[in-house]
Amino acid sequence: MDKFTVTINGHTIEAKPGQSVLQTALDNGIHIPHYCFHPGLPVAGNCRMCLVEIEGVPKLQIACGTTVRDGMVVWSNNDRVRQAVRHVLEFLLINHPVDCPVCDQAGECGLQDYYMLVGRYDSRFAENKVVKHKKATPIGRWVMLDQERCILCSRCVRFTREITKTNEMAIFNRGDHAEIDVFPGGELRNRYSANIVDICPVGALTCRDFRFRCRVWYLKQAPSICPGCARGCNIAIHFNPERPHHAGGRRVLRFKPRPNPHVNAFWLCDDGRYSYPFIDDHRLRFAALREEGGVRQLYLKDALDRLADWLRASRSGRTAYLLSADSSNEELFAARKLLRDALGVRCLLPDTGLRTGDADDFLICEDKHPNTRGARILFGLGENDPVAPDRLEAGLGAELPELLLVNRADLPSPLRDKLLAAGTRLVFLGTNDNATAAAAHLVVPLVVFAEQAGTFTNFEGRVQKFELAVPPLGDAAPEWSVHQGLAERLGIDLAFPGPAAIFRQLTAEVDAFRGLSHESLTPHGAMIRHE
């Protein structure tokens, strides 16, 4: 068959039969204004913004609802189309309150964008606007609804009907009284509710958590992977680097989903989305040493000196390391090279994040760690690992270790007490404060995933890369650099120059990862080889 081509705005483009004109244009970098169309939702064709002229068709057609034909010639930028789109926008804006100063959507709002693109600059509307009765009302744990700003594109309705199949959102009443709402007295009852905030092209649905925290134009973003569960949904970390007085000094203000057709399509669950506060709250910033008479803060380098001494002094076989499935592949590999291979330390993967029965058939997994699969591969663990908390003591062996390094996990308190009573030296390497960190003899602060680059392997075996978003807090260091510091102090010849280089070493040494590189992981990650 010959090539199937369409011509849009004079560019001849190869198209897939059956695709819509709008999707074809978007896939090829031609932007046609649209509100109701969303690539992850069924086509509704009700906003009329994507009108285009198709040669041979007398009336303008909506690009989202028109399927491409071979040889079709489409214009989206001529005067006729512009005029029509301008009038559509004028209609959409008739009842819009234009309260941009107090609207959180301002800055990422479809109305603002297209107004700048095709809008009329003087309103011709002399009548009174229809004021819908409700100003911002919460319609769920995370979502705020402001019916005045709604343009009835029905994306949210379609999301709850087609994606979550929970049907909470609907359009009630008729004509210019029509409004979106939840059933009277009801609320959003799905675990993906905040996605309707993302897909709302205007400020009708805004996020209650983000509400008034920060204007969106202060935010920068970095591509990343959600650390909330083993799914590894692709996210963008939105952080505020310049105005620390907003949001009470929190640097990371929200996670937004990033499309990846192989993992999460366009969506993100609420649990993962609102897991971001751990990046800034209750962080361990400086190393701490527990001595007689209290806890003393010390520099990371001094803490590493101390830890190296302890590692040297501890008899081999009496040191144990509790891995964390929150570590990146790179961090795990550094731990493997130093602790398991060079020092012969016993490495266990404890499981502190499994919530049985929590999974659903969409995105949410039971395993709440982003990199359990990676830890299993790198440390050659079987299906019985991770070790459940109640079996941890048995896992540590008959004789309790002299020196126990715990990575991030919070040990069950009976075990913790028993270890301390038995005289075990407890070293906590971690990002956030917990009871184990409070009880540890030595605390080494680590950076969280957002403060470094690296990769996670999701439960299916897809290796995905995350980028650095914010700088480390205080003295916190990436785990691999801690291991490198220890290696230097112990006279072990190991070099970890950075995540990309570590990943290169990793791919050279571990079969499952062979052939991968940081570069090959963009944009959608890559599958490991089958073990």
């Binding site: 049907n167 909470e168 959102m169 609907a170 359009i171 009630f172 009443n173 008729r174 939840v182 059933f183 009277p184 009801g186």
Partner: protein, 155 residues
């Protein structure tokens, strides 16, 4: 509030005639309205459960059509057309006249619960404008006098 057994029987009969819950919704709503004078908001959820469809869709449909009343209405329901043809031929005067005679605003019901007055868009009888619909019956080519006569004839 629950669906009465009688209503359930009616609904069961209707369900026989339609392939699924969504398609039976409109006749079901008519049945509810026939039984309850209007569609009580509290009945929407039981109805949705009985038809196995989302309650939101029931509410969507019941608020969309002007034939479905979401509030109690009078024994007689006057729909007077306010759209272009009727308006050009004096529907506005008739509307004001009706409102005066009944002492209510469009959309309200008289205090004794006798008559409800609603203004609607087109009734589809532009050739006999102005038109009103009273208890399912069209009254074409209205004047103030004919309106008075019709009102006088109501119980």
């Amino acid at each position: 509030m629950e669906l009465s057994d009688q209503l359930k029987q009616t609904l069961d009969a209707l369900k026989e005639q339609f392939p699924n819950g969504l398609s039976v919704l409109m006749p079901a709503l008519h049945a509810v309205q026939a039984a309850h004078n209007h569609i009580p908001a509290e009945l929407e959820q039981p109805l949705a459960a009985y038809l196995a469809i989302p309650a939101e869709i029931v509410h969507e449909v019941s608020t969309f059509y002007f034939m479905f009343n979401n509030r109690p209405v009078g024994r007689h329901h006057i729909y007077i057309c306010g759209n272009l043809s009727c308006w050009l031929r004096g529907a506005e005067t008739l509307r004001d006249h009706l409102a005066d005679r009944l002492g209510i605003q469009p959309g309200e019901t008289t205090a004794d619960g006798r008559i409800t007055l609603s203004v609607v868009e087109c009734l589809g009888m532009c050739d006999h404008a102005p038109v009103m619909l009273l208890d399912g019956e069209f009254h074409p080519d209205l004047t103030v006098e004919t309106v008075d006569r019709i009102l006088a004839g109501l119980s």
